[in-house]
Subunit: 209 residues, 8 copies
């Protein structure tokens, strides 16, 4: 009774960044803000590095929810950016669906704020329409651990796969030999411990030459 | 192998508030009391806001378990209120079942004290009878994290969906344009961070006019 | 796609207390020792109160694992007590199986030390043989949260239901009217907050007469 | 070598609420937001109840720091309100000092956001000028436990007394007989557990009459 | 610059149990209720074992605060019991002071609910009057860690010594040879791990004889 | 609807130790480093004790990831050791697969660093190819609890069984009588509490002879 | 008995960054690595912003301790940089003392890795020689909370003041009007929540013009 | 008002290991057992490395408290070993005092189980007699954080200095050049992260030669 391993494929994956807005970020309290911002930018850099089609969307950004995190906007100046006029579930917005379908990809990496709404609703909708959904858990945030666990539980029941941005990067890359420096730089920029390993390694290596 | 997304529908949902009694509340130690009271009242306000049929029930309220939280009674003066003479599982009380069936709804939002008994027992019974059950996790409380996780595990195995009151509100509302002010007020009253966003936003906006 | 609710039935349930031994208890570090001892004795008192057939077993009690907790032995002087000569999984001991089968019950409430071995192994074996297994999570202990969560995960996958001793008592009792004082005493003896409610209630009531 | 007990005296105490602003509140992560808001309002209600002279101040409220929490402004419509044009330490603002001196009190109860700046700086300054300083710890918030502990450490070294709003209320009130209902209401409004005790007590009492 | 070690002396110590009342106990959330009740009874048993004069007091016990924990009343049927008519600081009650002075002791062991009021106020008052004050920290409880730490900080500043009930028992006993069985029983009754050590030890010893 | 219990069998199990490298270990922050090293060596000692075929592999060990933990290399001098030239998923390396197939075993015990990549990827691949996969959770480490829980969730969905090294040892051993001293030594060396039980037991026993 | 407030003065303060080396950073486990790196760079940016003389030092940087964090070196290309040949306490190195004395400052801001050694030793030495010492707690790291608390305790006993980098910045700046944009940028770069406040504020402001 | 820095001096320090007994260790629950054992052995190895006179003592080792940890006995076969016949405070045992005085040292490093008794009592006594006391906090253990903090508080008030074993080693060694390999080995054996740094460093260095 073995199961096929639904593996991320860089030629078949798209990234959905949902509602990482300056105001909504103040609601996120299940991850420390320094760490959360780092994770979100790591996912964005990963999307750029693997050249995954990326779609940005915001909810009501002219109101208290606030504008999209400027660092995200800056990283994807040409990406589809859907400022939803009111739909809470991004999947209820036709432009968002069109943008997704335009990518032609069947694997969706979803992250957003807050997890049980902006991530879970489109995740559940996407699964219903036959997409493979991968939730980037550490680039998604919510009010507290109870709400996070409830959200994960609901998405898992429906068949979503839960991942971290690091696991996503590794599963997309497959083999270090495809590009050692590129992946190493991505890790060094977003994982201080990894950056330290590289610093120490390079220092010893250069001295001993 | 995609699955249909069982989504909350405000025309098909009823709320069951089970045993939020003054005495029993002292047993709740998996959520901080300030936060827990806020969550319970948020769920009540949400039920009123969406005009969901709401049913109140208590267990043995003349004894040490104590009376229903007065703020709940005050919010639903005309709701069915079943003071159970002894049944621990509210589903074993005929009046409770009648009240539920009288609503004609198939989606039940359940919250109560304590999670593994007052929520889990009717949740499991309702699923058995074909209802769609949504547990409002953060408006339900119990002794500690171990008992909470065990209760969640059992309900999930049976097919209950775990949600937070915030996710419930969002899934019922669907689109901010249905009523920006109403939903915003609900959030501002029960999420201090959201209230602060609105305060700041309104202040800047009014000054700049 | 509704499911039958496999509910505890006091006429069809037996309790298995596995390896609550003086030495092994020092390994339990996922629950505070005061609370853990209280939970184990609560489960024992519950078993006596509902007159559930109860089976005691120990592993290697003449060695470092130490003797059965004396309070358990004292509560069940006439219960089957299988001091296993070496089998780690109690289910591998014929006398243990015979004792279980002699009860004629199909629902097994299992608790023990440590969770991932002394509870999980017989739980998985019992499920395989067609029993309904209910793990009493808070009367079972292990090294830390990682080992507990792994054990719960494995047992859940196999179909065990996770409960707390309080939920077990409530599901067995069904209705307070079956015996208010008996159940109240069980709770007061093992839940300080509940004891306090009763004390306060009785005091006010007696004064106002 | 006994020491005099510097006790709060309601005829000699004033309250300083420093920078509880809608924007700055998003920085507070060492206390849960529901609980923190409740504590701040409890301190405000306490100040009103004991008729303590209260002084409000904000830092740069026209910028991102945002306006004073509206609930505070509403509670003290006639209190001195010093919108500081730039001084970070409120004690560096002459109007603030004048307002304090105008009260004629020597005991200062200080709370604010963030603890190590908006509370600690005026606390240290006030001690230097001979005031008795009482920090209301749970109505003050900061980034995390490390920054809180460092701030407490520095203020304690200088001689500040650390209190909770509840201890402040009790030390000011001295004797329940001064006004049972007033103090009871203050507690019931801000301590859910206390409110529940009163609800249960009143219910039993009224029924038994 | 060495300092004299102010050591507990069983001929010079009295115990003050302040406001361990059934209602107030529901406010204690910085220690788990099972453990807290155990600690309070351990302190009571210790007081009896060392025959320390013990004084009981309650605040407003006819109201919502509720009656004294019955187990305490039962252990000290003949001890002075001051039901204070309203004074929050027990030290403001003349009968309480008289009872303390009647013991003739200069070392006061204080425990109570809640720490920052019922313990801290009499502790600070007693120090002011020249008593040596020892706070039994783990038999005293309060709302949360912030309020506990603030209370400890204030009492330490004034010169109180912070202890646990176990340290108190050991410092009073001085030498196991004074009574091995008595002290061992006290520990076995209130420290499950210690009870297990004794059980295992006795079992091996008896078998090998 | 009972299920067969897929039980570890020492004649059918192999151990895969994936990427426990000196550099990568600095990334592990979901388990304390003292404890984690102990768990990894316990698994290694267990593999040797039960003579399970064991396969070592590293990722890019000449770079910053660093060499295999020397204690592992020392314990398995003759085991297959695959220094992967670049494949992130060890299962993508042909030599690794060959080494596994050469063992002829169908049960794979997998541990590694980091959990969501070096453990999860080969675990998912192995399940797909029909192996029974047992993840040794406490000998696997990752960045934090969020990434761990996401990884566990994904592997559980696919059918992996989660265990601890202690449960693995017990399930493989089946009966203490197979070798009391050997298993006891394994436990004493890696579980300080168990070592203490043995020390105390032996001491009393030897004295009483 | 009032005390003078020893306040940071930007004309009298120097910064000592001790042993923030790539290898040693892997030892820091009392602060999350993302947050810790951010705090260290915040302190560095603060030192540059206020033009405080800054001294860098490392311990044994050619060995396993590794080189100085490159981002620190890059920020202070011309600062005194003392690579100590072996002294553990930087204060035992003459060049380090000379560099400090050359600044002519009496207030020393110290941060480093690990807290109880690289920070505490020079802090205690500096106090002995009459400097005012301010420990930047959140830019200093160590093995765990126990070692941190012990280190803080020892330094506090000796008279060091504990601060956070944010408090340092505020106490040095004194008044926002000295430079709103500069301080705001420092905060936005290192406090995500503050950055979000500024983003939201600027967005609304620009739209309403 | 500068203070002399009381610094550890390897020619003037002795180590007291108090009651690290197999039975008593099961009481320690404020530090994880793997980590605690490692810390205790690190302190022992440190004492041997610096050739500090070391004194071992146990309380009632023939009873349930159990024998001294065998690894300690093995490390100090010739050290004074005082098996106290009953005194709880080791300082009350004349042989213990004689052994301390025989060393001629004035600096005492004390560690033991449990912190508030076996460490605190001799620490307070030693301070009273003019010794400089350094508590090795992480090689001392107790029931929980509350009892630890209370114990630390009492010892700090009396003038004890709190340290970690790592800080002790560094303060005694003063300069790496006194012996790089010896200190490095001590650290590598007891700090896995440090061991990994050395492994990685040596590997790169050896390869590049």
């Amino acid at each position: 009774m073995t199961k096929p391993y639904t593996k991320l494929d860089k030629d078949n994956a798209a990234v959905l960044l949902v509602d990482h807005q300056a105001g909504l970020l103040s609601l996120v309290r299940d991850i420390d803000p320094d760490k959360f911002k780092n994770n979100v930018l790591a996912l964005a850099d990963l999307a750029k590095y693997f050249e995954l089609p990326t779609i940005l969307t915001t909810s009501f950004e002219d109101g208290p929810n606030g504008p999209l995190l400027p660092e995200l906007k800056a990283r994807f100046p040409d990406a589809p950016f859907i400022a939803r006029p009111g739909q809470i579930n991004a999947w209820d917005n036709e432009d968002f669906i069109k943008a997704i379908k335009a990518t032609g990809k069947k694997q969706l990496l979803i992250a957003g704020v807050v997890t049980e709404v902006c991530v879970a609703f489109p995740a559940l909708s996407a699964i219903e329409e036959g997409f493979d959904v991968f939730v980037v858990t550490d680039a998604s945030g919510t009010f507290n651990e109870i709400t996070r666990q409830a959200a994960w539980n609901r998405m898992t029941q429906a068949g979503a796969q839960l991942m971290s941005w690091f696991a996503v990067a590794c599963e997309l890359h497959r083999d270090w030999r495809n590009d050692v420096e590129g992946l190493g730089t991505l890790f060094a920029n977003h994982i201080p411990d990894y950056g330290n390993l590289i610093t120490s390694y390079n220092t010893v290596n250069s001295k001993t030459k």
